[in-house]
Subunit: 495 residues, 2 copies
């Protein structure tokens, strides 16, 4: 992973920058000490580390705005950071950039059960939203595995998913409103408590923009009533092909489970050794299918899923008898990542999406790649929506193993695109998949995406070096950064 | 149109029924006088008239509930009625049924701009919702031609549409919550101010159920921000085929106009004679296409629509220069029904929906039918969504002309189904299209629909004789009326 060389001029201005930030955020909100900066040297993509130039921890939107304005006027780069759990390096720091940490934006501002909305600051954790409304029988649906730690602002930046997103949608489907600070310090509000604002869908553009368009300072999300009933079916299959066909048949029959997850043999074994979920060990693939809703509907759908599993040759079939057993079914799946961490010194967690029907082919080709690279791979999928999470096992202390693991990962993602899928499911591109963007997008596509970036941030000061392998200068892109409120075709407003 | 013979036993009990109703709704809320009853003898399908047994005008949900409970316990039929504008006879009265008029439910209960919702009683007119929020720049999107008169409760019963529904959805897409009284008098609340309640989509079932599942007593709808800009393009074509192709190309290019309407030559001529909208008279077909949104978007789309019109051989092309001219473009379209009323003693307004691409074929075959029946037809369409409104001109004073017009209408609707369309677009089935239901639905389909009816109203007391040409007794339908909260497959809750 090559990042652009840091700008030595900016680094030389460090004390001037720190002084300016301290005028805006007084007290302990500006971090310069090297020991303290180490807490910010990486995010969830821990293979890469870099001390930021300085970290600022604003507490108010006004402070964020003033920091952004000062950096804009003084040509200083910034990197926004939520909880730092990005697996694609979305908040990877830069030696010549100010990291703006949103950790102090940790309050829930409004809970409105009538309208089923929560207004929160971006540093609130995903799980804290559900915790704030669970006593009235509500929850926030998108549930990334990191939900105990990841921030809701980061969820918006990456358009985070999770097990429940098959039925209940990704972050973008559960987000109603945003307050954000644009690169030049202007504060804008998009959406609100209601659906469907008029005009361009700017909230749609911001969601999943990986911190490249500004800094979110407040957001409004939908909460849902917890389902009356939830049951899970655990299904074991003698082959990945049969499990893959079963997934296709469940969805093809019009059933939309609350979750439909698959694990291959190495993942099953690692999870079972770790949490003793009583998974069958004589199967090649395991499916966990959760159905939720009114009891009558769940019972009916469970019967249909059971039949579909049998028709596809399931050799193991269990239905959760109560919530405790359902939790046990899920325990292994939810612990799969740390479980794999126990059987390998290091692993890379990949994230790609494929058409469901390509599952057996992709698994077969992944086994061939595993042989070629001499690296093991364990597979955990959001099978229902075709989102793969292959875990490539390696040992960073062995020479070249990180490079081999990365090359293996690149081959997997390239294959995802080849079979009609996409580079990422829910982890974003960040720096991890940045150099693979041309596998999926042509020059024109990338130019068009960068025109949007230029409309928000013509100087490329906000989260530079992420997502795009090469940066077009805005001047080359049809003068899209021309100001005065008007832009040429395709008419993206400059605010 | 044959209605079942009225039950003489019920008619004989009239004074007992009136007395019971008067105990529930005191004062002038029970109408028995024949002169006064005449105001309720028909709805918008004026070819059919029948005095109701009695009319009751409750003012509170509790009164509605008590009326429903008494009728349920005493085996008396009821017909719900909003403003009585149904064009399919949805609120056509019965000689042996109590008409429950919702005219006194005429209050807007809550306007909430933050959440973009209005809570209203069912007798409020469609237009009154917009009037209540227009001062803040909001409006209610579904806009049936009758919006000045039709009630919002009736809109829900018929899932009403309108010009703007192509872009903004039908009633069902703009409805968030309901309070309704079930046939046995129980009051239930469905949905709320929020989206997506859990469990079965009962609000979806009730919307468009044509008053057969209960009586709505309160509803919550979404309001939208008025668009920044709206412009209309008026396009004239030398043939219906070219106009039809232009419609297909606009939609095929991914443009979703705020309205896309078509008129054929007889309709153009009648409208022009009536309101002098300055329509071109030397064209065979006229399209009016409205684009709304931010100015930049509207300008861009107008250019594209213009080009598409030219490519399809438009001989007349005008773009509204201001809101006054836009209103003039629409004036003729909006007055098309009364305009046709001026050139013929009577007309039947049909309502069917076809795939857009079938438009030229359907128009050609309609001309053949017109020759066969010796009756003129003028055509007004919601072309963008394929919803036809052929107006069949006849003279009820000429022997057999009503029957001929009805047979012509039945042929048109049968053709709509033949080309892959459906029996109705936005007017409902009512009594008008009841006997054509088997053209579209097989025995199994109709049985399945009636199972839903039986789950709500096992005694068939609410709006009987509508929608279904023959009534299965609930006992024949897999015992779906078995009570106790549980029903056999497909498990529709009995509440």
């Amino acid at each position: 992973m090559k990042m652009p060389a840091p700008d030595q001029g900016t680094i030389a201005r460090r004390s001037e920058i720190v002084e300016a930030l301290r005028r805006i955020v007084p007290g302990e909100g500006v971090i310069v000490d090297e020991d303290e900066l180490q807490a910010y040297e990486c995010d969830g993509l821990t293979a890469y580390k870099q001390l930021p130039l300085v970290v600022v921890l604003p507490e108010t939107t006004e402070q964020v705005s003033r920091v952004m304005r000062w950096c804009h006027e003084n040509n200083v780069k910034i990197v926004p950071r939520g909880a730092g759990t990005s697996l694609s390096g979305g908040s990877f720091p830069l030696a010549d950039a100010v990291t703006i940490g949103l950790g102090k934006f940790n309050k829930i501002l409004d809970v409105d059960f009538d309208n089923r909305t929560v207004v929160a600051q971006p540093g609130v954790t995903n799980l804290a939203i559900t915790s704030a409304v669970a006593h009235e029988g509500f929850y926030y649906a998108p549930d990334p595995s990191s939900q105990i730690a990841c921030s809701i602002g980061g969820n918006v930046a990456e358009n985070a998913g999770g097990v429940h997103c098959l039925k209940y949608g990704l972050t973008t489907n559960n987000l109603l409103g945003l307050e954000m600070v644009l690169p030049d310090g202007e504060v804008v509000r998009l959406g609100g408590k209601h659906l469907d604002s008029g005009g361009y869908d700017l909230m749609g553009i911001v969601t999943g923009s990986e911190g490249m368009l500004g800094v979110i300072t407040e957001l409004t999300v939908r909460i849902l009533k917890s389902p009356e009933t939830a049951k899970a079916v655990l299904m074991g299959f003698p082959s990945n092909e049969q499990a893959g066909d079963c997934v296709a048949d469940i969805i093809g029959n019009g059933i939309i489970p609350a979750g439909l997850e698959m694990m291959d043999k190495p993942a099953i074994r690692a999870a079972e050794d770790f949490v003793h979920a009583n998974y069958p060990l004589d199967v090649e693939a395991l499916l966990i299918c959760e159905l939720d809703g009114p009891a009558a509907e769940v019972e009916h759908l469970i019967e249909r899923v059971e039949q579909i599993a049998k028709d596809n040759g399931a050799t193991e079939l269990r239905i959760s008898r109560d919530d405790a057993e359902r939790a046990t079914f899920w325990a292994g799946r939810k612990a799969a990542f740390p479980a794999v961490g126990r059987i390998s010194p290091d692993y890379l967690c990949m994230d790609g999406t494929i058409p469901r029907k390509a599952l057996p082919e992709v698994l077969r080709r992944m086994r061939e790649m595993s042989d070629k690279y001499g690296l093991r791979v364990a597979n955990v999928f959001h099978a229902g929506d075709g989102n793969l999470h292959p875990l490539i096992l390696f040992d960073a202390n062995q020479p070249d193993e990180l490079e081999k693991a990365e090359a293996f990962g690149a081959d997997i993602l390239t294959m995802c695109v080849e079979v009609g899928g996409v580079l990422t499911g829910e982890h974003g591109v960040g720096i991890e998949k940045r150099d693979l963007m041309p596998v999926m997008f042509g020059e024109d596509d990338i130019k068009q995406q960068q025109r949007i970036k230029c409309a928000f941030d013509p100087d490329h000061l906000v989260n530079p070096g992420k997502v795009y392998p090469t940066l077009h200068r805005c001047a080359e892109l049809g003068k899209l950064h021309v100001t005065g409120g008007r832009l040429p075709f395709p008419d993206i407003p400059r605010f």
